[in-house]
């Protein structure tokens, strides 16, 4: 009886989870999706809790309360910290999987070793390795994104690094295989902790050689690992709901990483073992060509004359939290009957959809956010392209310069616009650490300074002129 109710609840939860993700294919239905997800989770928790074998409720209550205490503040972080939060929660997910796997193993070893079938043991080993490496790996990633002092930002590399890493993982896997062959053998008590330790260590070493800027990709790869570890847990507990939810999570991570890699024209292996950030240090120095700075007034005037303005936001807008000013600029221009579009590059910023969230926060209707492929057609008709803290995503070298590390990465053709204004603080390169021909092109003028400040100035200037015109 209970069994059937629980299974029915799990089945319903599964359906709701699928609807939940399905809802995300349009902003209109997205929030409904979230509610489906919450309902599903409630169902699953209640159904599990009411099972007869759950006898001690005290600890459960405490843990749940603790979860709320930590979870609520974690959901209030500023949007710029979202990548870190995501990484952190992958770490938690991995930890949970690893711990449950460990608990189950020792439980069965202690009470009923015959339960440790080859299949279950395989699942446990997978759960442990994936879970724990996701745990430490994601912690490292979160640290790098948070730019903690004591975590090196630049990739740390040394000769034979990959060999060492692969070696460690190999040992962990071998230990796992031995355990699968003989879950309660005489070496098991020693092999199991070894496997755990190595997985934890591997997680750290896997992420150390990766540049802070590749973290988003790494995160979503870890995302799929977290999903897989949930699947493994499902196999261990013979729970179909876990398997489905895990698979959903896993495929999401997989697809997002593929999208990112494509948009950066990089391969998984290149991201994981390429130690990308490195090239930066080397190239950054080169500075011979001359920038043509422009005044706020000048820029404002040209903007007023334009009929089509394309704003290209990048990571800089996120850093400067300039989205609200940008919105005001958009309003000032549209008020003058000027068409203003936002060109959104799939990997602008530091996570997929980063720019969309920021601009949505500033109440820009999502209808005005145009995807790269769509906008590039209009760029030749564009009078002014305003580059707000974007760099690599508008770097023509990606089209022309075979030697460039970003060669082949699809970009927004800002250089095709009649006039380009680029807002950035310094002459420093962007994430890829390379010069950007765009800044030296004839039609390009620089507006140096913090994006928030500069755009703010532009808005003031336009407002003033607007007022003047009124008189």
């Amino acid at each position: 009886m209970i069994h059937n109710i629980v299974q029915a609840a799990y089945l319903a939860a599964m359906v709701l989870f699928i609807f939940s993700l399905h809802g995300m294919n349009h902003p209109r239905t997205a929030r409904r999706g979230v509610f489906c997800g919450i309902a599903a989770m409630l169902l699953a928790v209640v159904a599990t809790w009411m099972q007869p074998e759950v006898l001690n409720h005290g600890w459960i209550v405490v843990a749940i309360i603790a979860g709320f205490v930590v979870g609520v503040p974690l959901s209030r972080v500023p949007l710029t910290a979202v990548p870190q939060r995501t990484a952190l929660s992958h770490a938690f997910g991995g930890l949970a999987a690893g711990l449950v796997g460990t608990a189950k193993y020792y439980l069965w070893v202690g009470e009923s070793p015959e339960q440790l079938t080859t299949f279950r043991m395989t699942a446990i080993v997978a759960e442990i390795i994936l879970g724990f490496l996701t745990f430490t790996g994601s912690l490292m990633a979160a640290g790098k994104l948070q730019e903690l002092k004591w975590i090196p930002q630049r990739p740390v590399t040394y000769r034979g690094q990959n060999i060492v890493n692969i070696g460690l993982l190999a040992i962990a896997v071998i230990a796992g295989l031995v355990l699968i062959a003989n879950p309660t053998g005489q070496y098991a008590p020693f092999l199991f902790p070894l496997m755990m330790g190595l997985s934890l260590l591997f997680g750290v070493l896997l992420v150390i050689p990766i540049g802070g800027a590749d973290m988003p990709t790494v995160i979503s790869i870890l995302n799929s690992y977290a999903g897989l570890s949930a699947v493994a847990m499902g196999f261990v507990l013979d729970n179909k709901l876990l398997i489905t939810a895990g698979a959903l999570d896993g495929s999401s991570g997989l697809i997002l990483s593929i999208i990112m890699c494509r948009a950066m024209n990089r391969s998984f292996t290149n991201v994981l073992f390429g130690a990308f950030g490195q090239v930066q240090a080397a190239k950054a120095g080169a500075e011979q060509k001359v920038y043509k700075p422009e005044t706020i007034e000048g820029a404002a005037q040209v903007l007023e004359q334009a009929s089509l303005v394309v704003i290209i936001p990048g990571y800089g807008m996120a850093v400067a939290q300039a989205q609200h000013r940008v919105r005001e600029l958009h309003d000032q221009l549209t008020k003058r009957g000027i068409t203003v579009k936002f060109a959104i590059h799939p990997v602008a910023g530091r996570m997929p959809g980063h720019m969309n969230v920021l601009l949505a926060e500033a109440d820009v209707p999502y209808g005005d956010l145009v995807e790269m492929d769509e906008i590039n057609g209009d760029m030749p008709q564009c009078d002014v392209a305003l580059v707000v803290g974007a760099n690599d995503v508008v770097n023509p070298a990606a089209r022309t310069d075979k030697s460039s590390p970003i060669y082949g990465m699809p970009i927004i053709d800002a250089d095709k616009a009649k006039t380009v204004y680029a807002i950035k603080r310094s002459k420093n390169p962007g994430f890829a650490g390379i010069d950007n021909e765009l800044y030296f092109a004839d039609q390009t003028f620089m507006l140096f300074g913090d994006a928030k400040a500069v755009v703010g100035e532009l808005v003031k200037q336009l407002a003033r002129e607007g007022a003047a015109a009124a008189h």
Binding site: G37, V70, G71, A96, V100, T102, Q115, K240, I255, A360
Partner: protein
């Protein structure tokens, strides 16, 4: 499409990988773990996952990440069983920590997703474009 093919092949591969491992063990395999139906569920879910995620609006990739976070915290199910069961204390401690971790993900995941989604405003133009 390519992704879908690749991934599902990978999964299918996993399935086969699993099989031999099993065959070795069917001797002492506890009959009630019907691992094949689990593999069927896994493969089918992966298909659905890929199919659904590929169609998620690009606008919402950031909220998507946090939503899937919350969903994969379904591990809470396992944690509850371990924490609440009649088990030695050490084991239940592990469970409790896991439960705490999953619960954190559930709460923060759903909350922040909804917080982000609240921001997305519609516009007549929006209707046509996206």
């Amino acid at each position: 499409m390519a992704a879908l093919t690749a991934a599902s092949c990978a999964i299918a591969g996993l399935a086969f990988a699993q099989a031999p491992v099993e065959t070795a063990a069917t001797g002492h395999a506890a009959p009630e773990t019907d691992y094949w139906s689990m593999l069927f569920v896994l493969v089918l879910s992966t298909f659905i996952g890929l199919g659904v995620i590929i169609r998620v609006s690009r606008l919402l990739h950031t909220p998507l990440m946090s939503l899937t976070n919350a969903i994969s915290a379904i591990a809470v199910v396992g944690s509850i069983l371990v924490t609440g069961g009649e088990h030695p204390k050490e084991i239940r401690i592990l469970g409790a920590v896991a439960l705490f971790a999953s619960m954190t993900n559930i709460v923060s995941g759903f909350l922040i997703t909804d917080r982000m989604l609240k921001m997305f405003k519609q516009s007549p133009a929006g209707e046509k474009k996206s």
